[in-house]
């Protein structure tokens, strides 16, 4: 490697590393940090909350109030859902409705999956209207997220 005038080279141009050194640097074993899926889900859920266009909830609820047949049907549906949850289910274990991905746990991954479904335009199941306001939206996502945090590392569904 041509040393030359160090000051001139330092000020005028970039010092060049030999190819052998560059190749060795690139091949140097790098510590690959494993990123757990819950970390990905937490970040992406925050992105859904921050970036998703806000629902025009005031106008929506006003239109909803004027449409009493829908309101009546929604109430009946809610009563039916409540009945389904409180009646005896027999010997089989029930999967919590918040366990969106059916993995046996209610955790941040469930909140994230519901957020993704809403964001992609998929129609979530009516049973996911966790706050009973007649629509499945980001507020229901929040409920799952809060529950996941309360359950710690993910409670059994």
């Amino acid at each position: 490697m041509n040393h030359g005038d160090i000051n001139t080279r330092r000020d005028g141009e970039e010092s060049q590393a030999p190819e052998k050194l560059v190749a060795a640097l690139e091949e140097l074993p790098a510590r690959r940090v494993f990123v757990p899926p819950v970390v990905d889900a937490a970040v992406l859920l925050a992105a859904h909350r921050h970036l998703a266009k806000p629902r025009d909830s005031v106008t929506g609820s006003f239109r909803f109030w004027r449409n009493w047949p829908v309101w009546t049907a929604a109430c009946l549906a809610m009563l039916g859902l409540v009945y389904l949850f409180i009646r005896p289910t027999g010997g089989t274990s029930a999967i919590a409705r918040e366990d969106i991905n059916r993995d046996g746990r209610v955790d941040i991954l469930d909140a994230f999956q519901l957020a993704r479904e809403l964001g992609s335009g998929q129609k979530p199941a009516p049973g996911l209207d966790l706050n009973g306001d007649g629509v499945v939206d980001s507020r229901d996502v929040e409920i799952i997220a809060v529950q996941a945090v309360k359950l710690g590392k993910g409670g059994r569904s």
Binding site: L25, P29, V35, D40, V43, H50
Partner: protein
């Protein structure tokens, strides 16, 4: 240093196939496209967490910094304008958040990072692989010199991008790179890489 591998999740694999440029993704995110943010997240996630680990020397801290970095990035939307390489924007965020995390944890991670680099070395009597010799030589560099060298030749940033990321004059970056290379050239273990 160890290398750990794992299979990619379906979400990761799907996002890797997205061919949009960073500028196009930024524009989409500004328009509220959450899927575009996902693509950008997976595109830079491993670099961010690897950089955080380079600074922190601790995996848990690195994961915390990863989250904080992307949450900080997220709060820039809508309205974020990408004027350079995205790594140029993320680098100071990762560095500053790692410093804050270190202070909170009460650790001196420069020593810990150096120890992590050295822990894989064989005993004094055994042969030393050239990769380990280089790792030792790198550990002997000052943090500023080592960082410029790695940003240039491992992360692929130009000197101008490094200057912007590190918020130092271009001349300083050139000087640090020059000094880093000179130090490696004089190092017993690393001089083999300078020989023809």
């Amino acid at each position: 240093m160890t290398v750990s591998t794992r299979s990619k999740s379906p979400v990761e694999s799907q996002n890797q196939n997205d061919s949009r440029t960073d500028q196009q993704l930024i524009a989409a995110i500004n328009a509220g496209d959450v899927a575009a943010f996902e693509v950008l997240y997976f595109r830079y996630r491993d670099w961010v967490v690897g950089l955080a680990y380079r600074f922190a020397g601790d995996e848990d801290l690195a994961l915390d910094v990863l989250q904080e970095t992307f949450l900080y990035f997220l709060r820039k939307f809508p309205g974020f304008r990408l004027t350079a390489n995205l790594k140029t924007f993320l680098y100071p965020a990762v560095r500053n958040l790692t410093i804050a995390a270190r202070r909170k944890a009460g650790r001196y991670q420069s020593t810990e990072a150096e120890q992590n680099q050295l822990e894989q070395l064989p005993g004094a009597d055994g042969p030393v692989a050239s990769g380990n010799e280089l790792a030792v030589a790198l550990a002997n560099l000052s943090e500023d010199h080592r960082e410029v060298l790695l940003l240039r030749y491992v992360d692929g940033l130009t000197l101008a991008e490094i200057a912007e990321a590190a918020d130092v004059p271009l001349g300083t970056v050139k000087s640090r790179l020059h000094n880093a290379l000179e130090t490696l050239r004089q190092d017993k273990g690393a001089r083999q890489f300078f020989e023809e």
